[in-house]
Symmetry: D2
Subunit: 336 residues, 4 copies
């Protein structure tokens, strides 16, 4: 017996990835595609899906959606997302929100984004990092799917939080493929800007920084100085995050990692430095760790559009509906 | 009831793609991986397949293979392939050969490649272009899987052969991603050679030319002057082939194409010029055609490793074992 | 004694290349930079030119320009260009126009572009392909700098025009780096569209087609059927054009090429297929030719922004002012 | 009056860049090209230099070189380099060595590389970072040209050494284009490995780490814990190095940088994060710095083959021969 689901924000890259996963999902039945404009069809918008899915993208309306969907994935920009989520939740539809709207505490959200218009549901939103919030996700009506940078960063850092010295700053050097900047045509997504180039943007002040900081402090009840430097690299998809931290005492870093993730299907601990190609197209997060006296180097790789967005969203939905976590989740990389 | 199959030449790119397809194939059960050297495991050789497939790659031996496999995919270099194929066939194993060894008439093979050492089976080999040789493939013991360039070229040209004027030369301008040059490290696969560059190699004299010519003449019983110019472009996978020909008379080129492929699931006829991204990761061949007086421009795009090799090989195996042609065949592109 | 020159349209890619050449030109003294908007400085607009050139880009005004410049390079879009050129010429300033505005016969221009507003000067404009129009350029007040596609195509075809059979269509398969599409942010310049992809745009109907056709017919007094297919490839700069034609009789194709270009410094005849890297950063046009019975394959490579625009423009200016043609013209490629 | 110079190791990428600079250098006269094998000509080895330089590359012999050259640039692998340098110096030829052979103290060299066979000259070798060792370079017979990673790292770090807290580790996250890995065809230079990918290699244990550490400790007389993580990114040339350090006290980081480099022509201090494109093709080192409480983020960009090797080598030679430092040194970037 299938669970009817919908995707709102179906025209963007994460919307597309959601569609690609849901098409063949054994339990979720994709019955609704929406966007703020509507008036398109998947097969013409994404030529690669011609002969795969012939389905209109409608001008999204919460009331209509509530009639046909038990769960909805929101792949919308922040702000737009919460106005949809609020109504859908009030109609009793469960929501996985891929925007930033329900990821942060109210205070942080309003400082870094905008005024929040759905404080009521914000209280009950669960942060959708399955390895860490699995139990809460099970009963959640609303899951706030983590950002791509925070996903890659937190999965690397969290096992080591008890051993990291909070008197030292944390340095996070992150690189993302251009799909992370979205479909919009801007100087920073122009081919000529990106090709044969690499550069940081919003270093230290990037909005994903607060998401990382908030979660780390939630886990540790300590304050950390986080220095997060995101960079665009000339690839379409994938993300590599290097975290540099200082240890309070000597540890067996590889053993800690293995132990922490010993039952986790989608975490792979690597003996050699991780690369992006081995995870592109999958929900895996690959982790490499290396110690040098009191310094610890942690490197993680994910597919920014999948583990950093859409496949993680479907894992969350699997958990919400008591399905096996790996049901319909991509594991075969786009290699070579 | 599953059909036991094996892949020999499992360490190369087409071997990898075969593995990726066969892992989840509903009917073929991948029980054997071999290479000329052996001594590896899929999960370490292809880090991206860790946690997906844990299977040794053995030093391939036809006798051992015959004990466990009903069908074998040979992803070996030419010459190496026929010595394996010969023995496997004699043991009663069915073979899909991805090399050039059984694609050509003896005379052409020996002129362009090397001395043939398995003339006996060559006689009965069926050329594995499903849209054109479906009936023969059904009963074949040995299928010669077409080359990537001939696949993309022939699927575009063949519908128009009755209308093409043989008094004019055919011009085929083809571009391939670098994976087509294989895993070997050479000046032509060095990143610095390929990046920010494009160049032809072996123009007009490329060995795939004779494969195209032979098939076209088989269909028409006429001689054509074929000018085939292959080029490397700075992408990993995918192939675009532009054919330029002259017509004998005025035709409705789009209608001819639609009619010719009207029942073909893996051919998509495009209203706008084809691109590689819409087919990468799939078995689709996208075709665009445009007429200009007596000139005809036909453009086709395929994934060189899938439709040009591995997914087409599995389609052929599906046909050989009376399975639905599309069973387990990838249709969702690696977009974005 | 230096010649005062200016660049109008200094904010685009070809404007930038003009600046890069003129900075160190031994005779031209760059005294004016303008654009339709003005209000910028080269060193901030192009960060790579900080510490190299500190010069304002002014809101361009023909009258002001005429006070300080003897010659002006117009790197403007078509239509905008002719309104500037007209005034500048009337003020007695000599003009090298990089737009399409003075390249075509009136009839062709108005059919493919827009209404012409400067018919008077159009009559006297000289087509700036130095190898072919050198004598006329010497005395020109107004040079129409050829398009990048026509430059690469014509330099390959013209030596063979006496031997090409006009009863057969000509096929021109052209590939351009993305800088050819300009600085504007559009879906076709978005990194994700271009990367790992290749596609044709406006095949056969592209506006550069008429420029090629007009010149070929001017040289031969015959009509040819031209089929021109431009494609975008995932590189920033460079262009490769393959022309496929039929011969009237047997020729020594390499000898014809050598003879035709025997005194030309910027034409290199290659024994092996040309590539883009060997010409990027230079004014060279590399040519490779190969015969196959009556078929002729001609392949040319240029830097689309230099030989296809800005360095050719400066060569033209050199000729106009009786300077050595190669004065200040880049010859060292951006290799590796 | 010109100074006769030679390049040994002329077949590699840094050899090529040396040639490209020396061709047009106003004072150095390139009279000798050598390699370990010999038997080639620049114009055929580097097709892009056809019509630019027609010069044989000889099997290098120190005695022959000493007859014609006053100064020689050695662009050889380590170990090979010192055996040439030793003889050349004994013949009275001055040497700029681009290998690692004379960069380190004997103890460090032998620990990280191999046994040193020219201890005598090692004593007098001067480390060729012009901004820091200008005075010593003037009188040097032998200049050890810095590595690309150390150049980019040290130029960023050194102005801040008095303010960096040595009780905290330094973290250096570095990204290099593939030309840094050299011309050799290996799995790590294969297009398919690099494209759409990024990965660290030899993290923390890379040999350039000791070069950075040694120089920093020489400047400060303190010990630092250096964590250096080099990564390959899918570009041909260019390097971006991010250093993360902790401050002892609050500083005006931008003012310190401006003051330190106030007379340096080839250092550009940026208000916004640096990028690679603005320096590719030049000898510039662009630096961006940003403070966050006690954390300091320093980001530098260079062209790995120029500032990280060949143009810096010619700057050093300029200084050795009392020429203006910027004579013949490239300043115009390969933009767009």
């Amino acid at each position: 017996m299938s669970i009817k689901c919908g995707v709102v924000g179906a025209t963007g890259y994460t919307g597309l990835e959601l569609i690609k996963i849901l098409i063949h999902h054994p339990k979720f039945d994709l019955v609704y595609l929406g966007s703020s404009e509507g008036g398109e069809n998947v097969k013409t918008l994404f030529k690669g899906l011609d002969r795969v899915l012939d389905m209109p993208i409608l001008k999204a309306n919460p009331k209509d959606i509530a009639k046909v969907c038990e769960v909805v994935f929101l792949a919308l920009p922040h702000k737009a997302s919460m106005s949809f989520a609020r109504e859908l939740l009030d109609f009793g539809v469960r929501v996985v929100d891929l925007s930033a709207d329900y990821r942060l505490k109210l205070k942080n959200y309003e400082e870094f984004y905008t005024k929040h218009i759905d404080k009521e549901h914000l209280k009950d939103a669960v942060y959708g990092l399955p390895e860490l919030y699995r139990e809460k996700i099970k009963n959640a009506k609303l899951v706030a799917n983590p950002g791509c940078y925070p996903t890659a960063t937190l999965l690397g850092l969290i096992p080591f939080l008890p051993y990291i010295d909070e008197n030292y700053p944390l340095f996070i050097d992150a690189k993302s493929g251009v799909s992370g900047a979205g479909k919009k045509c801007t100087p920073n997504t122009h081919y000529v800007t990106i090709n044969e180039n690499i550069f940081a943007y919003n270093p230290i002040k990037h909005r994903h920084s607060i998401e990382i900081k908030e979660k780390i402090e939630e886990f540790t009840n300590k304050e950390f100085e986080i220095n997060f430097v995101p960079q665009l690299i000339p690839i379409t998809r994938g993300m590599l995050v290097n975290s540099y931290v200082c240890l309070k005492k000597d540890i067996d870093e590889k053993e800690i990692l293995r132990e922490f993730y010993k039952d986790e299907e989608f975490i792979r601990i690597r003996e050699n430095p991780v690369d992006i190609k081995s995870v592109s197209g999958t929900n895996f997060c690959d982790i490499f760790v290396m110690k040098n006296n009191k310094s610890l180097f942690i490197s993680t790789a994910i597919d920014n559009l999948l583990r950093g967005a859409s496949s993680q969203a479907v894992v969350n939905a699997n958990i919400m509906f008591s399905l096996p976590e790996n049901l319909g989740i991509p594991k075969i990389a786009y290699i070579p």
